[in-house]
Symmetry: C2
Subunit: 412 residues, 2 copies
């Protein structure tokens, strides 16, 4: 990731009518590089604290049109980043997390739309986060990094939009935690969001959701290498806790049926007669898979960021300020909505999306809702399901029609 | 728990026609004391190893009749023990884990039945387990304690039955892992089980079930205080890992709706205006509850036992030896069955019990099956649900009728 040194004017210029560095095929945004934008003015947080200066890492695809009316903000979930689509210039194996959704000719067509990915404040992929150096002390923030909320992220994203001269987004979209940000945008900045695309999300975490987050946090916090959040100074990393946290999370992203289909009770390297090995090493394929996921995650993700993002999830509850009345919380909304849920998602099941749909309808908002019968659980929102992508594509076609966006504005 | 010194004859005498030490009310078995029985002959294990000598801690309620036909074996689940009913003589606050089910006038009526609870081999409530001293080394077994299976436990229980002179049980029963033992009894010792009562159980763990077990084990094994299983010698206890393991398990025992009902998003000690405190300490009631459960568990449960029992769960799969054909695996069964499942149990959902029912019916076995509409998830099997208990009571009435057992055999 580049250092936080880009000046605002330069950043703005960089996004206007500059094609991606390389376009290897018709269905990819090609090789992309992020940019870092520094904000010197502190950000006022929900907690009451003010935080700054800070930098956000941003990546864009497609071209912002002259009217600046074709911008789409894609908000990321727990372990993702600004790198939404394309191939990282720094690492050719690093393909964007929603590359099947965003690109030329893809459901969110970068021939028509200018797509922006922003790594959230507190994350660990370039934006200022707990592992960053606090200029006041010369040491990593660690435990002193403030708790941030979905609403704080949205405010930080709005500043990026200001800087890019985007007064109104054609759409703000996201899946899971990203969907919470999209919903929060529509509430906090109603006049700045034409369309809101909320996928596999929820108006608030359930007690069970919070419980899983809390176990993950306990695994990290009670890891002796965590050192109260200041592990950087100790040259330590709470890898064991992070791995366990990721394993817990991973189970909740998949459906039980999907795990049964993928792994079942298949054994890992059984004896010729299929006998068990009677020990606590990997015996079943599903164990191997989970250990691998946990191990991999613990090598690149920051432990404090994990705490911070799961807490932002816990706190999200727009109806908290309206006595639990979600319809009243959504009263300011002016956007049109697409909501999508997946039948086997037991993390944020369809009933969560339906609750948002009902609250929007009670406010007379136009809503399109698709409940996709998909076997892949919560993770389905990241996968290339034909019907799901067809719905999103059709919706973005409508947005393009409404806003009078032709194909390939500014260049073929 | 008493030391493993009781001789076989003494143990046998102790169980015959000796009333419980005290009976404080008509609906309790009263104050009870366990006894320890030592087996000098090694037990042949599924893994190929032979283990012994060993001791098992046993508790009984009611009176074995002269025909020795009224014995009921109650098999315990993960964190339970031989202490099924009544009040522990050692600790008056320690009430048996199934005290609402077993006692005078209760569904399993100790005025008619002689009920036996056995702490399984490898557990940590008195029977020989990883924390016990290995006479060969003078040190705790720790990591050298063998992996045991459900079938091994059943064989060990059969030796207790031999010793008590019980050729055939009126019933073998259990919930969850206890239900697996009951099912395994009916397969391994068909002529010794008149009735088999399998509650909230499954013919095998799913990939998701194994995944949750594996995360729990990783939390324990990667705790630096685990010392490869030999933490006793280091004066250490992997409490952090155990607490996380228990928290994970606990979430799977409750239904999402039950957690929502019990805790919802209620905050723990919020500010007067209901504001969050923006930190990683307990913020929600559900966090407080889970931390408490984890902490409590880590103070009394043995880490190696947790590994051993979750592994026994993983391995249980009677149809493994019949190419996945459960009906064929159950072909030897002679018992009549009662199976019960609970609608909101997402750990072992009703479909698991139905699979056993179908396999038994394919063998022409008499089966009673009740699917109870209960909100409490897997833990429902431990709770005092009126309809559930009515089903079990009626079934035991039928057993008593079949076997010609009057009320209060031997004494009023």
């Amino acid at each position: 990731m580049s250092a936080p040194d880009t000046r605002l004017e330069e950043a703005l210029a960089a996004y206007l009518d500059v094609p991606p560095a390389a376009v290897p095929g018709p269905d990819s945004v090609g090789v992309v590089s992020p940019r870092s934008i520094t904000f010197s003015e502190p950000l006022q947080l929900a907690s009451g604290a003010a935080f700054g200066p800070y930098s956000l890492t941003v990546e864009t695809y497609g071209t912002l049109n002259a009217a600046r009316s074709n911008a789409v903000l894609v908000c990321h979930a727990l372990n993702a980043s600004h790198h939404v689509a394309g191939i990282s210039a720094q690492d050719p194996s690093d393909v964007g997390w929603w590359d099947n959704m965003v690109g030329p000719g893809k459901p969110v067509d970068t021939n028509r739309f200018f797509v922006i990915g922003i790594n959230n404040l507190g994350s660990c992929f370039g934006s200022t986060g707990p592992a960053s150096i606090d200029p006041a002390t010369g040491r990593p923030y660690g435990a002193s990094f403030p708790v941030v909320t979905v609403e704080d992220w949205v405010n930080a994203q709005a500043r990026v939009a200001d800087m890019l001269g985007i007064e109104r987004f054609a759409a703000v979209m996201g899946g899971s935690l990203g969907g919470m940000q999209a919903l929060s945008w529509a509430i906090a900045y109603p006049e700045r969001v034409a369309h809101c695309v909320v996928i596999a999300s929820t108006p608030r975490l359930s007690a069970q959701n919070i419980a899983f987050n809390e176990v993950a946090r306990r695994a990290i916090i009670t890891d002796p290498e965590f050192h109260g959040g200041d592990f950087y100074a100790h040259g330590a990393i709470p890898r064991r806790g992070l791995a366990v946290a990721r394993m817990i999370g991973h189970i909740t992203y998949l459906s039980g049926d999907d795990m049964a289909e993928k792994f079942g009770r298949a054994q890992r390297a059984p004896a010729a007669d299929g006998a068990f090995r009677y020990g606590y090493d990997v015996e079943f394929e599903v164990e191997s898979y989970l250990r691998y996921q946990g191990e991999k995650f613990s090598r690149y993700f920051d432990a404090n960021t994990y705490l911070l993002i799961t807490r932002a999830l816990d706190y999200f509850d727009p109806a908290k300020s309206t006595g639990g009345d979600l319809a009243r919380a959504l009263a300011p909304v002016q956007a049109e909505f697409l909501l999508t849920s997946f039948t086997t998602d037991w993390r944020f099941p369809p009933s969560c999306s339906r609750e948002i749909v009902q609250a929007l309808l009670r406010n007379g908002r136009p809503v399109t809702y698709a409940e996709i019968d998909a076997p892949h659980g919560h993770d389905a929102f990241l996968l290339d399901d034909r019907r799901y992508h067809a719905v999103v594509r059709a919706y973005y076609d409508r947005i393009a029609g409404q806003l009078g966006l032709g194909a390939a504005e500014g260049r073929p």
